[in-house]
Amino acid sequence: MVVNFRTRLLLLIAGGIGLALFVVVVAIVLATRQSVSLHTERELEVSERVLGQLINYRDEQLRQSAYVLADDFGFRQALASDDEETIISALTNHAQRLNADLVMLLNPQKETLLASHSLSTGERAIFDAHMEAEAITQTATTAAIILAEDDAFQVVWVPVRAPHLLGWLTLGFAVDRDLAEQLQQLTNSYVHFVIGRESLQPRVISSASERIQQQLEQALLTGQLDEFLSHEEKQARWISVIATPADTAENSIEVLLTASIGSAAQPFNALRTQLLVIVIVTLLVTVVVTLVASRRFVEPLSVLSRVADAIARGQYKQKIPFIGRDEVGTLAHALDSMQSAIEEREKEIWFQSQHDVLTGLANQRAFHEYAYHRLQRQEPWSLIVVNLDNFRRLNEMFGRSICDELLQQFAQRLERLCADKFFLARLQGDEFVLIYDGNLDHAEVELKSVLAAAQENIVMQQVSYSLALSAGMVEAPRHAQERD
């Protein structure tokens, strides 16, 4: 495929600028993606700290409330009554004052006396571990989340004294969707409590929609968490804010925080759109400017190339606009002088090809062409061949240079005599041919006068040379159809 200069220029410039823009855009997109990722990661870090504080704060609050409750005189009186039903109804009544979802009464040795939920051995082990850890550190700074009957509860336990230690009141508060949603609002990230992450049946309590919750459970089950997260355009962070000393695969409780990459990317999306618009506009402007500029550069060149083309076809009268004084102008000048030079030379060559060098008469080739064209016309014409019969003898007698001169003189005479009447050509040596435009009869009449005048002696440098002429005639197309 031939690509013209203008298109090449356009492709080159637009391609160059396009490539530069592409590199810039890719760099920016990569940078923003990294920035978004970093931003999301930081957000998750903040969320993690906030979540940790919130859960510990909640633990503190629940503990305070439990202390107040355990201090209630009537409550203590009921617990001290040693009547199970009274104790139960007081426990229920008072636990409900705090909206507790789980209540347990332990004896001073921390064995269960009464409980709203029955804990499995594994669940109980976690609970015991929490209590032991707290008993050792003597502080209550770490929140405890336990499982009871497969549900998760944040629990606090406080002593009940009357004034000796009556037992331990344990209150549990459901770790449920409501809590997750509250935490989401405060942490600004999705909060998922994951129970038994490594187990055969991981369960998720999520602040996100039910659909997400189920998908997350499925992803955890099949070990395709990363795929799930990338599909949902989320970044995640596992946190172990809740100490679970007696973790087993089935009973582990962890928190997964996820933050949407999309929301962090939002401000960048506008930027990306702007960037895209800028790229498109720049490319368009580039194309337009290149087209306009290339028109200015290329137009003179294409004019000149058309001129050169015409010259090649033999037209030497091209008008060449002289544009400027630059290389193109120089080229135009060169072309102009070139075309006149070629014209001159060609004329000369043509003339030489059609004429006899010695006499300047039309030569054999010219005669052949003329005869050929004449034959095409299908009109009668006459061919007369004239021979200088004594030329060979003259040649021998006077030498070549004299005879050449003689031939020239004779030719001039013939030319003069034949003007307007005959086409004259020198075939070779002393043989001339005359063509008359008409039949033989007319030709004969004309020829007689010509020959009469032609065979007069030629005087050169006081020497008279006699000429002996002979002539033969044919008529075409009567006598011949072909040139030969």
């Binding site: 009537g74 409550f75 009186q77 009921a78 009554s81 009547d83 039903e85 009274t86 139960i88 109804s89 007081a90 426990l91 229920t92 009544n93 008072h94 636990a95 409900q96 004052r97 507790a100 979802d101 789980l102 209540v103 009464l114 709203s116 939920h117």
Partner: protein, 207 residues
């Protein structure tokens, strides 16, 4: 109270906040023209009973005359701690079982709200009228007041007013010309909570 139509039997109409007829409005008297007990006329005080059955007071409303006594037996297997902080009569019977039946006298007219310290949902009402006379609105919210000779010392009260924090309304502020609207609402029926049902199952399962 302005009795508008002399020939028609004077009737008060009551409605609640929702515009429904309010039944059970009680008209009681705070002061008697003469004290029928302290004048030594020898009338023996009546002893009323407010029982405790399945963690509720039965009946949850008692109408008594000033000077009467109320006894609070416990028919539950659970102990109760019955108390009142009402200015009309304060009392406190700390946790007792069904072997005991403490009682208390009500020398003064007014209304008394009775509670149980370990059962927040147990609420009883005792209305003490000076003379022992009461008027009550029926299911249509209508109260026939033709037997009433004077407004003085008569007050209207309804148990729901305690929840709403409304004091008894003087009878002189009521009208028979139009409907008397008292801004109270029926208490929500309270479903059994998760903890209660868990322990109930446990108790029933254990016994």
């Amino acid at each position: 109270m302005s009795v508008a139509a002399a020939n028609a039997p004077p009737t008060l109409l009551f409605q609640d906040a929702q515009g429904a007829p309010l039944a059970g409005v009680i008209l009681f008297q705070t002061q008697a023209s003469e004290d029928r007990h302290s004048d030594g006329s020898g009338l023996t005080p009546t002893v009323h009973v407010m029982d405790q059955v399945q963690r509720q007071f039965v009946p949850d409303l008692l109408l008594v005359a000033a000077g009467d006594r109320v006894s609070f037996p416990n028919s539950d297997s659970i102990r109760h701690h019955v108390y009142s902080f009402s200015p009309t009569r304060t009392f406190d019977f700390e946790l007792y079982g069904n072997a005991e039946a403490p009682s208390v006298d009500f020398p003064q007219a007014g209304f008394v709200i009775v509670g149980c310290n370990i059962h927040d949902n147990m609420i009883g009402h005792i209305v003490v009228s000076a003379t022992g006379e009461f008027l009550q609105s029926d299911d249509q919210g209508a109260m026939d007041i033709s037997s009433l000779s004077t407004d003085d010392g008569w007050y209207a009260w309804h148990p729901w007013m305690a929840t709403a924090g409304i004091q008894p309304i003087a009878a002189s502020d009521l009208t028979s010309a139009s409907v008397n609207v008292i801004a109270v609402e029926a208490p929500q029926a309270r479903p059994e909570t998760d903890l209660e049902s868990r322990f109930r199952r446990r108790l029933q399962g254990g016994r």
